[in-house]
Subunit: 205 residues, 2 copies
DNA sequence: ACGATCTGATACCGTCGAGTGTCAAATATG
DNA sequence: CATATTTGACACTCGACGGTATCAGATCGT
């Protein structure tokens, strides 16, 4: 049975253009994710088609289906990558704060999310709609729960009330970032962070 | 020129089924808006077609175009009606609070928005996407600005900081309402309102 | 150089929704 | 009753998109 390869897909196993098959597939996948961030973060997930993604990524449809099966799956991958990168920045900052000082974490989050309006929109708005809704009520909520996971457990305290405060702060954080990008807040990043630190301390005593 | 009516649209001017032409058109329009609230508030605006609306409203397509020209226009009408009704409830409550006590206004808002999850989703999530985005960054923001319009002007104070606090509270309010509907907050309406009053007083000193 | 395979452009088909038109039944008017 | 209008059910065209296939040119392995 030397002829173990029937007339099926070539499977992509050869070096091409100097890069391996695996690398090429990964690069294409990343270009699709980049295109997704660009289009999802500006037009919104619902207003983007597979053809749009391919045009933005300068790839043909075949390579979309090479890595994803639907727009929603791509959106999930984009969301996941964006959140992962943010977590990579925020977690060390939380550790730096030692579960006491919220400033490092808030600085990391704000500079990470404020820097790119596409990321902000993806996290705050698109994260609640369609197939992304399964990822939980926005990223800010997860970030706050992350914080609570690192902060010392408060014994016997008002659990439900504490949880409500967490959601409150998450919502405040999200709304402020969106307002900032809308240009209605005439404050520097430092001033915004100062206010956030103050709000955090007031909300989570 | 007695023959002033060419072979155009019948224009609907006759009594039918006991109701006037004007009333019939208004009833159909309202049924479309009701269908819009139901479908937009559950599936989201982007996932609803004109055919869906007509099926839900039990009307044929002709009558959709009688009152609206696109899904987005219907969504705007639904959004407008929902916000108008909420304003009708909240404004008297603000007046009742005399610009000092936020409790009446918060009670009116929460019972008005918490009562119907479709309204909550429409205001908090759908209000930021697609054609609804032009209505401003969610209804909560407008509600807070409404509050500030009624509250006594604070002379020479940190305008930008105050504005940031308003957005912060609006975001907190929105997030809490959404979390409530998701069932993750095991609190009574009264407890939620108590917390909101407390948060408001802390955020807007 | 030659065959295998990788890539890009394009064509093709089926489906779905927007928007318009047709026709018969129901109802009002004279 | 006879005619005009209103209404509902349905058919139709057109374009966009999802998904698949075809084909020529580029690149690699031998």
């Amino acid at each position: 049975m030397t002829d173990s390869s029937p007339t099926s897909t070539p499977e992509s196993t050869r070096v091409y253009g100097g890069v391996s098959a695996e690398q090429r597939r990964e690069e294409r996948r990343q270009r699709l994710i980049d295109a997704g961030l660009q289009l999802f973060g500006t037009r919104g997930v619902a207003a983007v088609s597979i053809v749009d993604i391919c045009a933005e990524a300068k790839l043909i449809k075949r390579y979309f289906y090479e890595s994803f099966t639907s727009i929603d799956q791509l959106a999930a991958a984009v969301f996941e990558q964006v959140t992962d990168r943010l977590v990579e920045r925020v977690v060390p900052a939380i550790v730096a704060g030692g579960g006491q000082d919220p400033r490092p974490a808030l600085t990391a989050y704000v500079t990470g999310a404020l820097a790119d309006p596409r990321v902000a929109r993806l996290l705050a708005v698109e994260g609640r709609t369609g197939a992304l809704a399964r990822y939980g009520a926005g990223f800010a909520t997860r970030a706050v729960e992350l914080w609570f996971g690192f902060s010392p457990a408060v014994e016997g305290q008002d659990e439900a009330g504490l949880r409500l405060r967490a959601y409150a702060f998450a919502g405040a954080l999200t709304e402020i970032v969106l307002a900032w990008h809308d240009g209605v807040l005439e404050l520097t990043v430092e001033q915004v962070i100062d206010e956030l630190v103050d709000i955090f301390k007031k909300l989570v005593p």
